[in-house]
Each structure stands twice: as structure tokens, then as C-alpha cells.
Symmetry: C2
Subunit: 246 residues, 2 copies
DNA sequence: CGAGCGATTGATCGCCATCAAAGTGGGTGG
DNA sequence: CCACCCACTTTGATGGCGATCAATCGCTCG
């Protein structure tokens, strides 16, 4: 998962109203943002759009990585199972993000939808060929990979050294930052948690009971308010940041 | 830390004997491997070589990332401190690897030498300009970042879900794979551990006492033999792999 | 209204951290 | 060459955080 969405392309080329990607809400965030109208048309034609329900699997760990995807709506989960059933979630993918930042032949992680989602799917062979002839796209992929790498290393610090409550506080702040992105300042502060407690636990290296309990702590300390199971309001951001850093 | 060194460039251009990089032992592994003789000469001239003792700091977390480095010998450690002194090691860099896979302005991690080391240092501004005019270098950086990302996610699984002994077994196997790289098959199986127990512990999210004890377990089970403090022989690789996977 | 699944709350356990002490080895100076 | 020192590692005893086991709650849907 990334700390924040990667930078948007400096200037996103405008599109004709009959362009197949006209009206795509995530073009400026997605890798597509760096492509000119005609390049984008060719790119789009090399793939296909797909609509998925929640709980569907895009790719299994160990399977050959034959396709890459642009997520246009919904939420994806990247996870891995140990033989005995322990699960670790390596990250979540949000709309505009890209699935397929790898040079490996096989998927190392299972990618599943958490909610109903839509993707643009591209055969890897075609995608690679297209990238090869579009160096600015390659640059964007590098930037993406570098951002994901930075986020993964943050997660390594979290998993290696933070306590349960620190992990949870860090997680909430991460979501808060993400939700602030598009809009301006420090407004609403009500965070949506689209994923289940199990997903959160498997992402933070904890158990669902611990998530519940520590959320209870934050609530008791008046740092957050539980609007509903999947919505949390941050009441004291400063204190939450203090907790997150230990 | 990466699972394995990134792939070597398919064919590494030969150099004249008076080329400044002639005889560089890591050229084929390093990003330099994709550069032609004259490109490489220009590249080399844009930076400087440095020799470092063990325990020196190349860059502090939070400082501006003004330089990038190619490690030509020795071992680097990437780490981060929490305010109260807890430390997490995000990875180790081995000869031929590259320090500077980031789009951030500041270093997120402190980079220090573990042993005496040598690097080629390049000012970031010059490096970025050079990359921009050499797309195949950009491709290599992308491949590098993708590999580091895969390795980081492996580490996330390790830290999030594996037990102490599983972490240690995974770590030993990682080192074993790395040491097998250059050479052929499954020969010696004596692994060097250049880093201290503290470094290992901070990498695996454990304490040094736990490292010692679990190494003792592996030894008692005749899975490994402790040749010396910094050398371990793997006696039963299969069993070690079984332990690593849970 | 009842079934079923996810979330919460409670009681206890176990792995690894912490605190403490002894062992080891490499380097220095006498 | 050897004695000492200091840093690192190992080994031992105890404790705490989060896991596990278990029961209840609460919401959604049939």
C-alpha cells in the first residue's frame, strides 16, 4: 500500500469527448495520465475493461502474471497465505493504482476485490511492448514502484517494531491522509474503513480481537469516535500522531 | 533487502583496459552494466569514488537526498529509529546494489556501512539528468525498484506473520541463496553473517537474545552448525526450508 | 422472527521481551 | 607473549503484550 497516491502527472492531456477514456475519473492519477490522446487510444485498445463484484480474485499467488491491471474503482487487497492458514495482507490498492509492478513471472500475492470494482486489464506481453516504446510511461512506472517501495518500508517498520496501538494509530492516519488527498485541508476527518476487521488485522500483523480492543482504547481516550463499524471520526489528530510514533 | 540480486544485464559491453571502470568487479550487477563504454565513461565522470570504514553514515533519515550511490564493495544497512530508540533495519545492501531508489526529497532511512565499503557517489541532480537521456538506464532502475518491492513485501509477510524461528530460518535461507548467486550449484553452504546479532535482530523484528536462543535451537536440532560467530553452515537445507515456511 | 456472519468483550495462555549474569574473543599495552 | 579490557554474544529467570479460546452482541437478510 502506498503512503499517498503517487504524484499526478504534471499536466494531463485533454481528451475529445468521444475518446474511450473521456470521463475516466482516475486518469490523472493512473499511469494513463502521461499519455497523449492518440497514445491513450492505442493503449486502451490493447486492453479490456472488467467489472467485478466484491470478493472476486484477480490473480492467485503462484499463478503466472499474464495480465496487468489499472484499478478504476473499488478496492483491491494483496495478500499471501502461509501453509497453515496464517494470512498477511501486503497492501491495499485504491482507484487509480496499478497492479503489476513486477519483473517476476509469477504473482507473489493474491489480488482480490474487497468491494465491487472495475479494472482495465492488459495482457502483460502487450503492455510490456507498449511501455518499451513509450519511455515516459516507463518513467511513471519507476516513480510508482519507488513510491510503493517507500510505503512497503514504512510498513516494515510498523510490523517490526510498533505495538498494537501504534500500528492501529498509524493505519488510521494513513487512511486519513489518503482521504484528504483530492480535497483541500483538514476538513471532515471522518475516515471510511471499507475493509473488514480481519483485513485490517492481517494488514497490521494482529488479530481481529486486538483490533477491536485497541479501537476501544482509542475511543475511551476520546481520540476517535466510532461512527459505525466502517466509519471512524478522528477527534484528536495530534494525540493520534503521538500514539502512532510511539 | 532483495531476495536475490536483480538480473544481470543480458550482455555487458566490454571495456578498454584503460577505461576508468575496467576491472570493476560489480559492473555487471550494477546499473552500470547496461551502459556502453563511452556512456559509462561520461557517467563515471559525473560522480566520485569514496572509500568508507565500517560504521560510517552515508545519509541520515530526514536529511535531503542529495546523492545516490553505487555500492562497489562492503555492506550497507538501511535503518530507521523510533523516537524512543527502537530500531528497525529495512534491509541490507550488497556490492553492486544501488542506494537511491526514491522519488522523495528526503531519505526515509539512515544508510550506514557495516564493514569497510567503497561506493561511487553521484549528485542526484546530475544522476537524474543522465537517466533522463538514457532510457535503458531508466528501465534498469524500474527493474531494480520492482525487485526491491518484491523483497520488501516478502519481509512484510515475515514480520507480520512468522514466528521467531521461522524468521531466522527464512533469513538464513535468504543469505544462502545470495551466496549461491555468482557460483554454480548447492556447494559449500557455509554462510557468512557479516552483520552483528543486533543488526539481525533489528532486521527480523526480534531481540538479540532471541536470535541467540533460536540459533541454539537450530544447532541443537542439527539443522545448522555454528562455525564461528559470523559463519554458519547449513546441514539440513530441507528442514530449514520447512521451518521457514511454518 | 430466527439464522448467520462479523464484531465485540471476557478469561487465560504462551511466545518473546526484559532483566540479569556469565562466557568469549579480539585488540592493546605492559 | 601474556594479562587485561571491552564489546559482543550466550545463557538463565521472570514478566507482559497480544494470541487464543470462548461467549455474547448486533446487524442484515431470508
Amino acid at each position: 500500500m502506498q503512503l499517498r497516491s503517487f504524484q499526478e502527472a504534471a499536466d494531463v492531456p485533454p481528451l475529445e469527448t468521444d475518446h474511450p477514456c473521456f470521463g475516466c475519473g482516475v486518469r490523472r492519477q493512473a499511469i494513463c495520465g502521461v499519455l497523449e490522446s492518440d497514445e491513450l487510444k492505442e493503449f486502451r485498445a490493447s486492453g479490456a475493461t472488467m467489472n467485478l463484484a466484491g470478493g472476486e480474485t484477480l490473480s492467485f499467488e503462484g499463478d503466472p502474471a499474464d495480465n496487468v491491471y489499472n484499478l478504476t474503482s473499488g478496492l483491491l487487497r494483496l495478500s499471501k497465505l502461509l501453509p497453515d492458514g496464517r494470512r498477511q495482507v501486503a497492501g491495499f490498492l485504491h482507484p487509480g493504482e496499478f497492479l503489476g509492478l513486477t519483473m517476476e513471472d509469477d504473482h507473489a500475492f493474491t489480488a482480490e476485490t474487497i468491494s465491487a470494482a472495475a479494472v482495465c486489464r492488459f495482457p502483460r506481453s502487450r503492455f510490456d511492448a507498449f511501455v518499451e516504446s513509450h519511455p515516459h510511461l516507463e518513467r511513471r512506472l519507476y516513480a510508482l514502484a519507488a513510491h510503493e517501495l517507500a510505503a512497503s518500508r514504512q510498513q516494515i517498520v510498523l510490523l517490526g517494531r510498533k505495538t498494537a496501538i501504534e500500528r492501529l494509530a498509524s493505519f488510521l492516519l494513513m487512511l486519513a491522509e489518503r482521504s484528504e488527498e483530492g480535497r483541500g485541508g483538514t476538513e471532515s476527518q471522518v475516515i471510511r474503513l471499507p475493509m473488514s476487521r480481519t483485513d485490517i488485522a492481517d494488514y497490521l500483523g494482529l488479530r481481529i480481537e486486538t483490533i477491536s480492543r485497541e479501537l476501544g482504547q482509542l475511543k475511551a481516550a476520546r481520540v476517535v469516535r466510532l461512527v459505525s463499524t466502517h466509519e471512524i471520526e478522528i477527534l484528536d489528530r495530534r494525540r493520534l500522531e503521538g500514539i502512532a510514533e510511539g
